[in-house]
Amino acid sequence: MLNIRLFRNEIKRVPGIAYGIIIVMVIFAFTARNFMNPVNLENILRNAAILLVISIGGTMAILAGKIDLSIGGIATLSGMIGGIYLKSIPEPNAFNVLISILISIAVGSAVGAFNGFMIGYRGYDNWLITFSTMSIAFGLAQTITGGNIVSGFNRTVRFIGSGQIFGIRVLLILTFIVVGVMIFVMHRTRFGLHVYAVGDSETCAKVSGVNVKKTLFMVYLLSGLFAGLCGFLLLSKTNSVGPTTGDGYEFNAIAAIIVGGTTFDGGKGGLGSTVFGALFITIVKNGLQLIGLSVFWQQACVGFFILGIILVNALNEKRAVKNAKRRIYHD
């Protein structure tokens, strides 16, 4: 008896979208040719990994009740600067690649710190500031190369994005480590719990002694940092970086976060559910492509997903409120 109940509780803890992933995979396995091909599955995992890394910051921002629209722009800009540094060296070695990663992360963190300063310490509207920094970052990425693409790196640079250790992609290992660390940080450290507290209610958090300004600053700083890392990963995986590389990533990240189960109210959800969300979005996009649906439909589908999930959430919430009211008035 006890075991069954435990098992049931375990099942309840799995986010709903995990079942969605299974359903979608079954559908595509029958309808799309080559979907279950190991190469394709690996491709899905790699795409999901990059989306996941960029979604880390977005999840934290949404958990804190804010939003970060600038992650796509930051990824483009930092990838671009890292790429230009690598291009300036004739034959980059492992040390140069490390420096390039650090440069990407530094650029991302700098933009993130600006966001955090304006939003956390100055109290400006969060999405307006990040929307502007998105435009600034994309604009800078465009001006640096005059709109051209930086491409053609050697194997050392591509190692992180498409290399293997013991038959496992480096990208997947790296993502696993980064996400694992961040899940630990979000659930087991003071900072992570502060983020949840701020998202639940800024006033309550403030009254309880949480340094709201600093927490928000750190959230945006980390968001920029991971966007910067993602910029390098994109460079390393696709072997090129252009002024529109990260275009739409902020939107896909939001989709992954929302589909995973984090809500815009803040304080609800977590990084673990974003993992499933990122997988779901990537699988759907990949499957639609394999079915032969026009490429143009892809982003539209993601848009429909976001609105659909929000609609379902809103209906659920309304029902919950109704039920709660009924209980109050009946007793």
Partner: protein, 331 residues
């Protein structure tokens, strides 16, 4: 006292001063921008670029007053123009094409409004999802290419004289301004923006207000689309990709503040003019067009910071600091 009055006057007319300074600056430092013998450029700005920007910025201003945002206006422009263009080309009926285009604008606006007010989706999420959905539909409908070759009557309608679009846009702006300042509906918009709960409690139908405002924005976007159709002679899906940020920039530079309930539609006229003068002037200074995106983002941040910059409290703080310093020196 007089000092305070002077300061407030200065703040009130600061936008006009900025505009004049910019005009003088560009006239003095470039040969082609503006001169006694060179009217063509300024005329081109006023007659060609001003009307569409003014319309979308005015729509954005209304939404901003209502404490919302519309990131889908660019996509609305694209889809209403392209659907209108397709109908117009296939039936050779100009009136029908225009009607369809306006209808599409209204439908999109109503969808946005319902999502935001009835379902309760945050405005930026609803409209950014809408943007991707509409762009996707537009790409599918146009199959990734563009529509051109409209009936000659259509071009004659909007381009028979140089001043048509300009006059239409100004008339619309003053109608909107009248609507917002002098009618019950307009005041309701302000009240909804200032405090939605209070508005609801005092009997304002906030749901209806939101839907109507977004519908108006949709109509304004489709009129913008028609203007672009008439002077570009063709439409494609990426027509309006930079419109949201340009509209936000123009609206905020004009002196409308974020946070709801503040701002006026007529402010947008100066805002749009400042933006056009600046972007055109930079081109005439020899700064490449790729810098524009960067400039737009920076402009938004600067204008937001400037809006919140309180001269009086700044002076007070400085006085206090100076006093403190003196005290410390004495001690």
């Amino acid at each position: 006292m007089t000092k305070n009055i002077n300061l407030s006057l200065l703040k009130k007319n600061s936008r006009l001063i900025v505009l004049l300074l910019l005009l003088v600056f560009f006239a003095a430092f470039t040969d082609t921008f503006w001169g006694i013998s060179n009217w063509t450029n300024i005329l081109n700005i006023v007659l060609d670029q001003f009307p569409p920007l003014l319309l979308i910025a005015a729509g954005m201003t209304m939404v901003i007053i209502m404490r919302g945002i519309d990131l889908s206006i660019g996509a609305t422009v694209a889809i209403s123009a392209s659907l209108g263009a397709i109908v117009m080309n296939s039936t050779q009926n100009v009136a029908l094409g225009i009607l369809i285009s306006l209808l599409v604008g209204i439908i999109v606006g109503v969808c946005n409004g319902v999502l935001i007010s009835v379902v309760g989706v945050p405005p930026y999420i609803a409209t950014i999802s809408m943007k991707w959905i509409l762009t996707g539909i537009c790409l599918v409908v146009l199959n990734g290419s563009s529509v051109y070759g409209f009936p000659s009557e259509f071009k004659a309608l909007l381009q028979s004289t140089k001043y048509n679009c300009f006059i239409i846009s100004l008339v619309l702006i003053f109608l909107l301004a009248f609507f917002m300042e002098k009618t019950v509906f307009g005041r309701n918009v302000y009240v909804t923006g200032t405090n939605e709960t209070a508005a609801k409690l005092s009997g304002v139908n906030t749901v209806m207000v939101t839907i109507i405002v977004f519908a108006i924005v949709g109509v304004l976007s489709s009129i913008t689309g028609l203007m672009y159709m008439s002077f570009l002679g063709g439409v494609d899906a990426n027509l309006g990709s930079s419109f949201p940020i340009r509209a936000i920039a123009a609206s905020l530079i004009g002196g409308n503040a974020f946070g709801g309930g503040k701002g006026r539609v007529t402010n947008t006229i100066i805002g749009a003019f400042i933006m056009l003068v600046l972007t055109n002037g930079l081109l005439h200074m020899g700064i490449p067009a790729v810098w524009q995106q960067f400039v737009l983002g920076a402009l938004i941040i600067i204008s937001v910071v400037a809006e919140n910059f309180d001269v009086k409290s700044f002076l007070k703080k400085r006085k206090k600091a100076v006093r403190q310093l003196k005290k410390e020196e004495i001690v």
